[in-house]
């Protein structure tokens, strides 16, 4: 589903965020991307969703070389990739429901199915009462869940979650993980960047660690 071959990313002037990184993630996999702060996790996810371009190397998503995709076709790639950003990127002056509905409107889903999906997601993430709250009035933990809800709304083939549990307590973290597991069961490939050892130490899923811009083997369990 996602393949990186010798990818390097250097932010100007000379910040080496990723160096010679290669990884293959199969369709239907759920992969935890770990590493200390500044290791390059966010950078890797941004490269995969096409928000940043690599300076070197090849990135293939769903069999397509991202560097060869015409700007015109980029929207269709993005529709198939749901990303929950570390900084959320919500629209502050729109309601929770409107924020979650956006990716579904973009692909012209029916109003009824959008409505149903929004309520379903709000319920699963314990945000029931926040349907009409403006995003700017939410706590960070709530914003984080809205960002995740928006990323998974369409149940896209590829879900990228950047620190989806960073601001959450244990119980809420479990809700988020349940939702992601559910998406994974439904067929989505998931890449999840996190510091939180508790969410990957007890799973059968793969965990990889980035250190100083390249992968090192991770001890699972």
């Amino acid at each position: 589903m996602v393949e990186l071959v010798k990818v390097s990313k250097i932010y100007p002037p000379d910040v080496v965020a990723l160096e010679n990184v290669s990884i293959l993630i199969e369709k239907g996999e759920m992969v935890f991307l770990t590493g200390k702060s500044g290791a390059g996790k966010t950078t890797l996810l941004k490269l995969i969703c096409g928000l940043e371009q690599p300076d070197q190397g090849l990135i293939e998503v769903a069999g397509k070389d991202l560097s060869r995709i015409r700007p015109k076709d980029m929207p269709y790639i993005r529709q198939k990739t749901g990303m929950a950003y570390q900084d959320f990127k919500l629209l502050p002056d729109q309601t929770v429901a409107q924020n979650i509905a956006m990716p579904m409107q973009v692909v012209f889903r029916s109003i009824r199915s959008i409505k149903n999906r929004v309520s379903e997601l709000l319920e699963k993430l314990k945000l029931d009462g926040k349907h009409d709250t403006l995003a700017c009035n939410l706590s960070r933990g709530e914003q984080q869940r809205v960002a995740l809800a928006r990323a998974v709304a369409n149940l896209p083939p590829l879900i990228l979650a950047d620190e989806p549990t960073g601001n959450l307590d244990g119980a809420t973290t479990r809700l988020v993980m349940e939702l992601l597991e559910e998406c994974n069961d439904a067929g989505s490939t998931i890449i999840l960047a996190t510091h939180d050892k508790s969410i990957y130490s007890n799973t059968a899923h793969r965990a990889v660690q980035i250190r100083d811009g390249y992968f090192v083997p991770t001890e699972n369990n």
Partner: protein, 272 residues
């Protein structure tokens, strides 16, 4: 604001167009009456008559050429005088010069030609004087020319203001929605998804703006008709509104301009 500007420029443009329509209509009516009278030195013999006829038709197409002999001129005058015709009694029937009445077959566009035509006729041998409504024809001619210039100018104004105002409005809303548009792109909104609302905005501005302009023109027209169509001044013809086809054309052009303006603005500010 944009609507008002578009509406106003449509109003200005179509107002002059309305005047033009009516002037042309009036002119066509008056044009039917245009005739040139050639006063001759002496009664032309048949050969001369044929020659005159040939010379005249050589220059331009005419509806009719009527030769008026001294006798006929006298009779005509007597007819016109009616009961007072006795005043002519002592004068003999030959004091009026023979003449040729020429009814040129030209519309108002050819007004400037009338002058040339009369100059040409004046040079024919045996012609003493050529008479036609010089004064008003020339004034009328200048007036229609002026009107044409005004229409072109106000048309240009219409084009400029609509395109400028619409693209300015679109620019403002693009800037205002910058953050939203960025996120829309991130979640995979296609160009057409992003640009459709702006296109619709431009389209509606053109449509509603032109509708406002044309509606105000209609009311203005109605008001003018009620207040100025009193007998004596304009009663020789009916005011008429600009034809429906022209109205529709203005509407269509306005819509096209506004949509075009928003497309141009999007090219520039959305890089679509």
């Amino acid at each position: 604001m944009t609507l008002l500007t578009v509406g106003l420029s449509v109003l200005i443009f179509s107002f002059f167009l309305l005047i033009n329509t009516n002037i042309i209509k009036a002119g066509a009516k008056l044009g039917d009456d245009i005739r040139l009278i050639l006063f001759l030195e002496k009664e032309p013999d048949p050969a001369m008559t044929a020659l005159y006829r040939k010379k005249i038709t050589d220059f331009t197409d005419v509806k009719e050429i009527r030769f008026i002999s001294r006798d006929m001129a006298y009779k005509k005058l007597a007819d016109q005088l009616g009961n007072d015709s006795d005043v002519l009694a002592d004068m003999g029937s030959d004091f009026l010069p023979p003449s040729i009445e020429v009814y040129p077959n030209i519309d108002l566009k050819g007004l400037s030609e009338i002058k040339l035509f009369s100059e040409y006729l004046e040079k024919l041998s045996g012609v003493v004087k050529v008479q036609y409504g010089q004064e008003w024809i020339e004034r009328f001619h200048y007036f229609t020319e002026l009107l044409r210039v005004i229409i072109i100018l106000s048309g240009g104004l219409l084009v400029l203001t609509t395109i400028f105002m619409v693209s300015y409005t679109i620019k403002l809303s693009v800037v205002a929605r910058q953050a939203e548009l960025k996120i829309l792109r991130l979640i995979g909104a296609t160009n057409s998804y992003i640009s459709t609302p702006f296109l619709v905005e431009g389209f509606l501005q053109g449509l509603i703006g032109a509708a406002i302009g044309l509606t105000s023109l209609y009311f203005l027209f109605d008001w003018i008709k009620k207040n100025f169509n009193n007998p004596g001044l304009f009663n020789f013809f009916e005011f008429s509104y600009i034809p429906t086809s022209t109205t529709l054309l203005i509407l269509a052009v306005s819509v096209i301009l506004c949509t075009g303006g928003s497309i141009a603005a999007m090219r520039k500010y959305l890089r679509i």
